[in-house]
């Protein structure tokens, strides 16, 4: 009962069977494509909404620039660079900066020496 017989032409019954299968395949493919597109759109949609949430919150904040945060100014003046606001001070460098890749073992050694001395 193959669709493709070796005879020339096909019977009416065979034509309906083939057409039916093609139509069914097309519908199934269409549904899957729609699902795929929807999934993609939905994923972009919630990312977009979370981003909008952050930008809206930014607009509502009393202070919108890092260098105007009074607690930031205080930590520099009281602790990281006593008496002044000086990023990348020696203490800031020790506490707030790091190294990468092959430079890490040396950093670990330096930190261990620093803490032994302290």
């Amino acid at each position: 009962m193959s669709i493709f017989t070796e005879k020339d032409g096909i019977t009416r019954r065979q034509f309906f069977k083939g057409a039916g299968m093609l139509a069914f395949t097309a519908v199934v493919a269409g549904v899957f494509a729609k699902v795929g597109v929807d999934v993609f759109a939905a994923s972009d949609d919630y990312i977009q909404k979370r981003a909008e949430g952050l930008y809206t919150l930014d607009e509502q904040m009393a202070i919108r620039k890092s260098h105007e945060n009074p607690e930031i100014l205080q930590i520099y003046k009281d602790f990281l660079s006593p008496g002044e606001i000086k990023p990348v001070s020696e203490k800031a460098h020790h506490l707030l900066h790091t190294r990468y890749g092959k430079d890490i073992p040396g950093l670990i050694e330096e930190l261990a020496t620093h803490h032994d001395a302290a």
Binding site: Y46, I47, R50, G53, L54, H67, E71, P87, I104, I108
Partner: protein, 387 residues
């Protein structure tokens, strides 16, 4: 040493249906497996981002949990347990309680954390602002060095890459060691918070640093790996003790029987809890760049910005670029600053190869592994409605 280094953060459970979806999601090709066989994550290649986890249609991928250690610290009366929360957590945590994506729940989040027993509730946004101060200053030094200004000879090369994303850092270390001198030496906001909490707080609050436990709530699974990196002990202790994800915090709130939606609004504790809008937008792709531009512009020009929005760096396209003219007072002229933003590590290779070949004219490049930034991190609520 915790078990993280031997087992990895992200693992495939026996629920794996071998559908192969994760192998297309993974930015580093770390997942392999034949169709029909349970898949396997290659520890060396995995950057712990958890994108496979949040995109697995069968929920068959899991992340290493530190929730029990956090609960033990909270139950220990000798421990002074402080907590920090990343910007992206506050616009997604509500989804676990039925709210729409993007709903800001930060004031309920602070209240819930106090109810869970944290001694102080601070905010990673404070150290995001600190990151801008340190990383922004470093960028200015690199630019001055490139322009031949005296006194900046020891500054690193341009362009400067951001360093906030631990998945990006591991990727660069594994695949592009020559690009490492271009990455800002400033620690990520999470890792700045740890040493600040264990050195500055003891001085101000008169507590013993050995008693302090630092917990992070992160939208990210790679932050669990980051806190366990052995070099992060500049306080003399492990700087950040434990990390829980947005999902895990939601579960802890539910386990404790807290009625989250009916909590009254609270604020973060003072000293290292105050934040700005610049810190808030760190959670979205382009946010670190925009925060840095706001500060760099004002510090370099000596002028106040009329409008703080730099909308050119916003959006969800995987690679974006912009040029911002900054009138630099010290140089007496305007400097065009070229910036680039990459979201999704699959798109970073060509940008890096241009830098290494000397073809790049950017000054500052922001790289975040997750598409859309931390708001779409591997520790965020899983959107089952997208399947």
């Amino acid at each position: 040493m915790s078990t993280v280094s031997t087992t990895g953060i992200i693992t495939v459970s026996n629920e794996c249906k071998a559908c192969d979806h994760c192998t297309f999601i993974c930015p580093t090709g770390a997942i392999s497996g034949k169709l029909g066989e349970k898949h396997h994550i290659e520890l060396k290649k995995c950057i712990n981002c958890g994108q496979c986890l949040i995109n697995c249609p069968f929920g068959a991928i899991e992340d290493y949990s530190m929730v029990n250690e956090v609960k033990a610290a909270l139950a220990d009366p000798k421990k002074f347990v402080v907590v920090q929360e990343a910007p992206a957590v506050r616009v997604a945590l509500g989804e676990e309680f039925g709210l729409a994506p993007g709903t800001n729940v930060k004031n309920k989040m602070y209240a819930a954390l106090r109810k869970l027993g944290f001694d102080k509730v601070y905010d990673t946004e404070f150290t995001a602002d600190l990151t801008i101060m340190e990383e922004g200053t470093e960028l200015i030094h690199r630019v001055f060095n490139a322009l031949g200004v005296e006194g900046f000879e020891n500054s690193g090369p341009l362009p400067q890459f951001t360093s906030c994303c631990p998945a990006w850092i591991k990727y660069a270390e594994d695949k592009y060691p020559h690009v490492l001198p271009h990455i800002s030496s400033a620690k990520s906001p999470q890792q700045m918070f740890g040493p600040v909490a264990k050195t500055y707080l003891p001085e101000k609050l008169n507590i013993n640093p050995a008693d302090i436990t630092v917990v992070s709530v992160m939208p990210c699974t790679a932050k669990k790996y980051e806190c366990d990196r052995p070099e992060f002990m500049s306080s003399g202790f492990k700087d950040v003790d434990y990390v829980v994800t947005t999902r895990e915090l939601a579960q802890m709130i539910k386990d404790a029987g807290i009625d989250f939606l009916n909590l009254s609004d609270e604020k973060a504790d003072k000293l290292i809890g105050l934040s700005t809008g610049a810190a808030t937008i760190f959670g979205a792709t382009g946010g670190v760049m925009e925060a840095a531009l706001r500060t760099a512009y004002e510090l370099l020009s000596g002028q106040t910005l009329d409008k703080v929005d730099f909308k050119a760096v916003r959006g969800l396209a995987p690679v974006r670029e912009a040029t911002v003219e900054i009138p630099v007072k010290a140089l007496g002229k305007a400097l065009p600053v070229n910036v680039c933003i990459v979201t999704g590590l699959k798109h970073v290779d060509t940008v890096i190869e241009d830098v290494l070949a000397g073809r790049s004219n950017y000054h500052f490049i922001e790289v975040m592994n997750c598409p859309g930034g931390c708001i779409n991190g591997g520790g965020q609520p899983i959107r089952r409605d997208t399947y």
